[in-house]
Each structure stands twice: as C-alpha cells, then as structure tokens.
C-alpha cells in the first residue's frame, strides 16, 4: 500500500484558486449527484477531491471532469459543507491548463480565446469567438467545423442576432490591461504561481 502523499494536496491548496476549500469536503457526493454533466465525467467532483488528497496529480490535472463544468452553481448551493465546488473545479482547470494539461480541447480553447478577447478588446466578439475556437485545431478541421456550424450562423444572421461590425476596443482598454496584469501577478494558478 502506497504511503499517504500530501505534496499534491499542498500544491493545490497553495497554488489553485479555491484549492484550500477541498479540505472541507466530507465525501458525501451531493455535488456529483447534482451535476448536470456527471454522466460524462471520468471523475465527478467528489472523486476529484479524493484524488487530490491521495496525491494523484496526473489523474486530477488530466481529467476531463475539470473542464466539463457548466457553471450552474447547483453543487455550490447543495454542498452541506459549503465548499464552492464549482470554483474549485474552475481553479483546477485553470491550473491544469497553465501546466499544459488539456483534457477537453474545444472547451479549453473556447475559454482561453474568450479571455484573450476580453484582454484584447475589453469586450467579447460573439462571431469572432467561435471562428477562433474552430481554427484552434488547424485549418482543415477549422473549415470542417465552420461548415458544420454554418446553419446556426445563417439563422442568427437572418434574424439580426449577429453584430455585423467587428467589436471595437473599449476606451479604457490600456488601463484595464494594467489592472488585469497586476491581478494576474497577485492571483493564483498561473505558471508563475
């Protein structure tokens, strides 16, 4: 039997946003039971927390579960120990991606491109975002995915639910970036943490 290995739990507690909340988990499984995508997860949240405690770094950071959170807050509301389960999952996903683990390619690039746009413009360009996500996986796949999504694009266009002009930068973009840069330096979960 392997010895108890606390180093990963310490790493998570110190470097992952909301990582220290895991210590409150009593393994009841209400989070797993309430999660809309539990059936698609390799390890539901309860098991993720258990794996953190068991020092299973690869299993946790490489799990698809941490990138399958729909942010519905059901687990947050239901946890009897008041663990902000959703925030912990987001924190683990952020940390895992910064460490080079990418268990769900499309969802990872969707979130990363979303943030890049926020940083670049201060706003999100809804038509530009899917395009960037589709092409994150190479040109051939990009064209395939784009064609596959064409019907939705056309529906939106025909019903004037797509902003035609490209999104412009907000006026205070430079100062917003300075604020965000400082936050990233102070915040948890990045590669510098």
């Amino acid at each position: 039997m392997a010895a108890y290995e606390p180093s990963f739990a310490q790493e998570v507690s110190g470097k992952v946003d909301f990582g220290d909340e895991i210590k409150m988990c009593m393994q009841c499984g209400v989070c797993a039971g309430s999660c809309p995508l539990r059936d698609q997860m390799d390890y539901p949240p309860r098991q993720i927390f258990s794996l953190v405690r068991a020092g299973k770094r690869e299993e946790v950071l490489g799990s698809k579960a941490i990138l399958l959170c729909t942010s519905c807050y059901t687990c947050v509301v239901k946890c009897p120990r008041k663990v902000p389960v959703m925030d912990v999952m987001h924190g683990l996903a952020h940390y895992a991606l910064a460490q080079g683990y990418v268990s769900r390619k499309d969802t990872a690039s969707f979130g990363q491109e979303f943030w890049k746009q926020v940083y670049r413009l201060g706003r999100v360009d809804e038509k530009d975002l899917p395009r960037r996500v589709f092409f994150a996986d190479g040109v051939v796949n990009g064209i395939k995915k784009m064609l596959d999504f064409m019907d939705v694009g056309i529906k939106l266009l025909l019903h004037r639910r797509m902003k035609l002009l490209p999104e412009r930068k907000i006026k205070g973009i430079q100062s917003l970036r300075k604020m965000l840069d400082k936050a990233e330096k102070k915040g948890k979960g990045g590669t510098e943490a």
């Binding site: 807050y73 059901t74 969707f110 201060g122 706003r123 038509k127 939705v152 100062s175």
Partner: protein, 292 residues
C-alpha cells in the same frame, strides 16, 4: 425609478431581441436606464480557462467602481451571466475584506477605487420587488389569456445566492408571467442547466440537457418557453433541429424573453418593441392568437 443598465456583450448580438424588448417594456413601467460608460465584458462563466480568479474579480470590479463613481443607482443586469459575475464580487468582498483590498490595489492601476456600495440586481428582482406584480398587471392592455408558458429560470439568475427568489423552488418568473395573464405551467426542469457557456464546445454532451428541459416543458402543456438569459435562449432555441436529428424527436417550440411577453401584453408594437421577428422559431402566431 432610475437604474444603471449593464446589458453586456450578448445583448448586442445573439440576445438582441432581449435588449430591444427590455427597454420599451421596462420604460412602460416607469423605469429609466443609464449606461455605465465604457463598460467591459464580465468574463462570463468560461474565463477561468485563461485567467486567475482575482483577474476576473478585478474585471467586474472595474464596472462596479465606474458605476459607483458616477451615481448611486442599482445596476440592473439582464444577462444571468453578467449578473452573477458582478454580484459574486460583492458577496466575496463582504466575506473577505482582504479581497477588496487586493481588488483595489489592481483597480488603482487605472485610477479607480471600489468602496463596495453598489447593489447589483437581476431584471426579475427589480420587476418583482421594485415595480411589483400589481403595477405590472395594471399596465397590461392585451392579457395573454391563459396561454400556457413554461417559465424557464435556469441557473445563474437565482443560484447561488438566492437574492430575490428561492434557489430550489423559484416562483418570481411564474408570478410575473401570471401578471401578464399567462398560465405558468409547473415543470421539474425549470432550474436544470442547459449547458450554459460550454454548450457550443460540448454540444454532444449538452444537447441531451436541452432535450430534457424542452420535453418536460412541452409535456406539461407549454406552448412557449420563456427565459431571462441570453445563453439559455440561444441554447434552447438555436439547436432544436440538431436535437431532433440526434434523438429522432420533433421539437419546435418558440423560446421568448420575459420582456418580449411584457411588450406584447402591454400592447406595444410586436416588431419594434417586442422584437418578435428576431426569434428564430417564430412565436408571433401563438401570441397573436392568445391576445386575440
């Protein structure tokens, strides 16, 4: 009554019918709106993939600080995601004053400071608690005459804080629908998640969620499904044909914003004010038949 309106990125695009109907419907009730000048995106629910939690907090605190510096109105956020992102900062700094200090250290880079005094409200909260169902009922000139509507609440407009409604058995949307003359139908999937921001990249996994929600609503006799969230509207409305193909079913139910229904019941223009022509699955015939 005057409010800041923080409509966010989606309401200028995929949720355009929400913003177009929200203004005239709310103004008909005496609400006045002011934009937060040079507002930024809230980061929605997927930014964690690229940003630390503190950066997302600072992003939202910028909007709050700019609003606070300019006037003492509550912020109304019609988009559930914008709402939850803004309100989360307020809640977390209340529990953790050190966080407010950290946020302000970052805001100072742009010459801003947030004292923590701005109240963030959901549109349902304001309609229900500030305006009230009596006043709304009194404004109705074309009641929806018992039209069966499933009021889909979804997630982020009530969870996790439950500021103005129950997180497990919400009633506000149904009471607002009833004030318009509609008959809200009870259905269990009312607060089940539609897949939210990850519907697009995880479509195979999320289509089943939407299928279950819509079948539950239809099974209870709903002719329309109403919503107050641009992500829910997008996910529920735009992929019905794909869901039909995948599961061999026949979904074809219009998804309308609560504010569109208000505009209709207030006797406002069906196109200019209710923006019904911007819905992909047309609700116009059903609504015209109901109001007679």
């Amino acid at each position: 009554m005057k409010y800041y309106l923080y409509w966010g990125c989606s309401l200028e695009g995929t949720g355009a019918n929400f913003l177009q109907s929200l203004r005239p419907a709310c103004e008909a009730l005496g609400m006045e709106f002011e934009e937060i000048e040079d507002w930024n995106c809230c980061g929605a629910s997927v930014s964690y993939a690229g940003a630390s939690d503190l950066a997302i907090k600072v992003l939202n605190a910028r909007n709050l600080a700019m609003a606070e510096a300019k006037g003492n109105y509550d912020i109304v956020a019609p988009c559930s995601s914008c709402y939850i992102q803004l309100i989360k900062v307020n809640h977390e700094i209340k529990e953790n004053p050190d966080l407010l200090k950290q946020v302000n250290d970052c805001l100072a880079e742009g010459g801003l400071h947030y004292k923590g005094g701005i109240r963030v409200r959901h549109i349902q909260d304001v309609l229900y608690n500030d305006i009230g169902v009596e006043k709304i009922r009194a404004r109705v000139t074309k009641p929806l005459n018992g039209l069966k509507i499933a009021g889909y609440v979804g997630c982020q407009s009530v969870r996790p804080y439950g500021e103005y409604d129950s997180t497990v058995k919400p009633v506000v949307q149904d009471r607002l629908l009833a004030a318009l003359g509609a008959e809200p139908v009870p259905f269990a999937k009312k607060i089940s998640c539609c897949g939210s921001g990850i519907f697009l990249p995880e479509m195979d996994y999320c289509m089943g969620l939407v299928k279950d929600i819509l079948e539950d609503a239809l099974g209870h006799g709903a002719k329309l499904v109403s919503t107050v969230c641009p992500m829910c509207a997008m996910n529920l409305e735009m992929y019905q044909d794909r869901i039909n193909k995948k599961y061999g079913i026949q979904l074809d139910v219009p998804i309308v914003y609560l504010t569109q229904l208000m505009a209709v019941a207030f006797g406002l223009d069906l196109k200019k004010d209710a923006a019904l022509d911007r819905n992909v699955i047309p609700p116009e015939a059903i609504l015209k038949e109901a109001v007679g």
